[in-house]
């Protein structure tokens, strides 16, 4: 009764009809008429119904326009996106289903409110959340909200393997692997492989290597070089510097030079005085820098032949000479660029780094043997090293295609456990159980190393070259 009276009172007030002294008595009588009561109730119920409908409609609009972001998926990789409706302040959804998921191989699990599955195809589309909110009739048409769904392709499926052009004047094999004896009682296995980033566009392997046992002087030499990805003839540059180093020690390094070294070493074995060390270092500096300069000059000569700039031939250079003298191994090395050279002790408990790396603040920023300033830099002398040891298990030289995925940063090169892991990795402790049996009696050693180098590492798709002396 009172709600009827309140309604009528407000109505007549709103219409400005409530003047006069008898309003109060009249209102009492008016509102007790059953017809009036029924009419007012009808109006109030209708109003309530309209308000409800309005609320529901505006709530639906709100939900449709509220942003829901679900994470991107990747083909072949388990996908799970939890839709936390409480968190989204949407716990008034009484019914939900999704459209457009099955074509990606996904489904919606109502129980856990999760989109799940292993995406089967890539795409950038909108899936539709069909829903009903509290208060809507069971029979009502479902509302629709679009949500962006991005499925990335499986990165592995995107890499193409396009052969490089064998007609190119500087063509070289995309993949190569060799095994040989290298003198001084040691063997070498080396593999060089075109990176996926090159295979993807049909470009060439820029890495190169060379090795040789120099019978006349007894030295063994191993060289690797990484041609710059941004330089157009770097693959040729890398090849030329590798063979230049071998040529230098084979042809230009004289018996007299060698004798001078032998004399110094014998002296050094007797006494390691400051003066002897200085003379030794000087010898190493003198001859290895001549070799490096010889390699540089070969490139200078090549620019004239090819009518190109030195920077078109940008290539790093790392090489090590070793020889057994008086039951000890002597190792001499030089490095410019970012290819590490290291020796592991016989018991695998110690690593000796033979060079430091030219790595810039930014990715790919390194130095090359093509850069004349290398030779005049005050750091030039630090690019050489002289080491002597009883024996070693492995001498390794590799390009950044191996260094980046396996060692990541320079600090790791100093950690023996990283090297121990690396050796175990070579022996098969990896995702693919791919092993290299590092034994001179293994007839398959070269193809095994080549296969091992196919390992997958996100973001690391450069050429890979790894030389192991053992």
């Amino acid at each position: 009764m009172s709600d009827v009276k309140t309604y009528i009172q407000k109505l007549i007030e709103a219409r400005n009809l409530s003047k006069g002294s008898s309003v109060s008595n009249l209102l009492e009588e008016f509102c007790s008429d059953p017809y009036i009561i029924e009419s007012v109730h009808l109006i109030l119920n209708t109003q309530k119904m309209l308000t409800n409908k309005w609320q529901i409609k505006s709530r639906i609009e709100e939900i449709i326009h509220r942003s829901i972001v679900i994470p991107n998926g990747t083909v072949g990789k388990m996908y799970e996106a939890k839709l936390d409706f409480v968190q989204l302040a949407m716990n008034d959804l009484v019914y939900t289903e999704f459209e457009g998921l099955s074509e990606y191989g996904l489904f919606y699990d109502n129980e856990s409110e999760t989109i799940k599955g292993i995406p089967e195809k890539a795409g950038d589309s909108k899936i539709i959340l069909k829903f009903r909110v509290e208060g809507e009739a069971e029979s009502s048409v479902l509302n629709e909200k679009k949500i962006a769904l991005v499925i990335n392709p499986d990165p592995k499926s995107l890499w193409k393997n396009i052969d490089s052009d064998p007609q190119d004047p500087f063509w070289k094999k995309d993949n190569t692997a060799e095994f040989a004896t290298i003198g001084n009682g040691k063997h070498i296995v080396v593999a060089s492989k075109r990176g996926r980033s090159h295979a993807n566009v049909g470009s060439f392997r820029d890495d190169d290597f060379a090795f040789k046992f120099l019978e006349s002087t007894g030295w063994s030499v191993v060289v690797i070089s990484d041609g710059a990805g941004s330089a157009k003839f770097s693959r040729k540059g890398a090849q030329v510097v590798c063979s230049a180093i071998v040529t230098y020690f084979e042809e230009l390094f004289t018996a007299a030079d060698n004798e001078a070294f032998n004399a110094l070493i014998f002296h050094y074995l007797l006494e390691t005085g400051e003066d002897t060390v200085r003379k030794l270092n000087h010898w190493v500096y003198h001859h290895l820098s001549k070799a490096a300069l010889y390699a540089h000059n070969q490139l200078v000569a090549l620019t004239k032949e090819l009518n190109c700039d030195l920077k078109d031939l940008h290539a790093t250079l790392s090489f090590t000479l070793f020889k057994k003298i008086e039951e000890k191994f002597v190792l001499l090395s030089f490095g410019v660029g970012d290819c590490p050279m290291a020796v592991l002790s016989s018991d695998l408990n110690k690593v000796t780094l033979l060079n430091w790396l030219d790595v810039g603040e930014f990715g790919g920023g390194t130095r090359f043997i093509t850069m004349p300033e290398i030779f005049s830099s005050e750091k030039f002398h630090s690019r050489f090293s002289f080491k002597m040891m009883e024996d070693f298990s492995y001498l390794m030289l590799f390009t950044d295609g191996i260094y980046d995925p396996k060692f990541m940063v320079e600090a790791n090169l100093e950690k023996i456990e990283m090297w121990q892991n690396f050796v175990q990795d070579l022996q098969g402790a990896n995702q693919d159980n791919c092993a290299v049996n590092l034994s001179p009696n293994n007839a398959d050693i070269a193809p095994q190393l080549s296969k091992w180098m196919d390992f997958w590492s996100i973001g690391n798709h450069d050429d890979r070259t790894l030389a192991i002396v053992f």
């Binding site: 990747t74 030219d358 930014f362 990715g363 790919g364 980046d404 940063v409 320079e410």
Partner: protein, 211 residues
């Protein structure tokens, strides 16, 4: 893993309202899809989008392409072009966000920056103050893109040697341009000498390079 960070600075001032901003949205979306299908990009690319009108907004913080979702770019009906303020924001972000290599951290590839504008800076003083600061950042590439006849090539040239001029902001032109952008991005992760710049591919004939 090395990241290749790419920053887009997009003009959303009043003059972009309507069809141009639609075309820009479409072209960007096409570019993202192209990049998503590129093996190398999918592995290493990180993208950030800054927009500038009266306000500078970080529409998308630096995000790995794998997780990237392109937001819709909207612009007010009118208002100034605060390019200088946007460069200021970029300078700050690059200083904070770019990882430099050291003994224990892998350095990023040099960042690439694409500045897209259809007008000229309203905050010319700040713009000119920022030019030397941006130049000192050692970017892999900074491409200035002037779209339409009202865009000022000369001012962009003060900022970078690589200025591309587009005759209009229509859908076809922008698509072609952003295809070239994705080609350029694909060049961004190759080894180069210390201090050297990223070599840019030749732009398509539809767009005119000023320098």
């Amino acid at each position: 893993m090395r990241r290749l960070p790419v920053y887009f600075l997009l003009d959303t001032s009043g003059s972009m309202h309507g069809e141009p901003i639609q075309a820009l949205n479409n072209a960007l979306s096409g570019m993202i899809n192209t990049l998503r299908a590129d093996a190398q990009a999918l592995d290493s690319l990180w993208i950030s989008i800054l927009t500038f009108d009266r306000e500078v907004k970080e529409l998308m913080p630096l995000t790995e392409l794998v997780h990237f979702q392109l937001p819709e770019i909207i612009c007010p009906q009118s208002g100034p072009t605060h390019t200088g303020k946007c460069l200021e924001a970029l300078h700050e972000k690059i200083k904070v966000e770019i990882r430099r290599g050291n003994e224990t951290q892998k350095g990023d590839w040099k960042p690439l920056v694409f500045l897209f504008t259809d007008g000229k800076p309203s905050d010319i003083q700040l713009y000119r103050d920022m030019v030397p600061k941006i130049k000192s950042l050692d970017l892999g590439a900074l491409v200035g893109c002037a779209a339409g006849h009202l865009a000022d090539d000369t001012l962009l040239k003060e900022l970078t040697d690589t200025v591309v001029h587009l005759d209009s902001c229509d859908s076809t032109t922008l698509k072609t341009f952003f295809k070239w952008v994705s080609d350029t991005i694909e060049q961004g992760n190759k080894s180069q000498g210390t201090g050297e710049r990223v070599a840019l591919p030749d732009p398509p004939s539809e767009v005119i390079v000023v320098i």
